[in-house]
């Protein structure tokens, strides 16, 4: 794509992002806080933790946290994969450099 189209696309997408921001609800007044109010009210009774965020992270949305730990694990494995020591004689099956 040439430069002009690129600039046009960039401007369009930025404009729509600004449009999304301006047509959001007002800052500081959530539309529907039922779920979060439930967390705030019932964390101490259900989980027994004072830190609501940690309770959400590890109990109510604990599966997300498992996925998050998995993402970190995946990244570690991938980086170790890239920087691993490898045998010299494993250049085969048409792996032309």
């Amino acid at each position: 794509m040439n430069k002009v189209l690129r600039v046009v696309a960039f401007l369009f997408v930025s404009a729509f992002l600004i449009l999304a921001a301006t047509s959001m609800r007002d800052f500081g007044v959530p539309n529907d806080a039922t779920m979060d109010q439930y967390f705030i009210d019932n964390t101490q009774a259900e989980v027994g933790a004072n830190n609501v965020v940690t309770a959400v992270v590890f109990d109510y949305r604990g599966f997300d946290t498992l996925g998050e730990a998995t993402v970190l694990f995946t990244a570690v494995i991938a980086v170790l994969t890239l920087f691993r020591k490898r045998k010299e004689d494993e250049m085969f099956e048409g792996e032309v450099r």
Binding site: M1, L5, R6, V8, A9, F10, F12, V13, F16
Partner: protein, 113 residues
């Protein structure tokens, strides 16, 4: 059990396969009734390379994969030139295509409905 009925017709692979085998058998039968007068090992069974002798190196006879369809690619050269140029290995262009498609989708969603 085998067949599927689309809203328009029926496709039954089992019947198709049986029919195919039947036609194959008929064809082989017709072939078996053919003329037996030619002799093996003579010129009648040699490949005919438009009068040229068959080269010793059989590699010379192998048409490489890349040589197939050169005519079609040549015929569509205008299209191929444009499309292959769009696959520049440059990451900026890929991101640009992505962003352009995103902007286009936004425009369509907001202007058409």
């Amino acid at each position: 059990m085998g067949g599927i009925s689309t809203g328009f017709g029926v496709w039954n692979p089992i019947a198709w396969t049986l029919l195919f085998i039947g036609i194959l058998i008929i064809g082989l039968f017709v072939r078996s009734r053919g003329n037996k007068s030619y002799k093996r090992g003579t010129d009648q069974t040699q490949p005919f390379l438009s009068g040229n002798r068959e080269p010793e190196n059989p590699e010379a006879l192998h048409v490489r994969g890349a040589n197939l369809y050169w005519g079609m690619v040549h015929g569509l050269s205008g299209y191929y030139k444009r499309v292959r140029e769009s696959h520049t290995g440059i990451l900026n262009d890929y991101v640009a295509w992505f962003i352009g498609a995103l902007g286009l989708v936004f425009v369509i969603l907001f202007w058409i409905g």
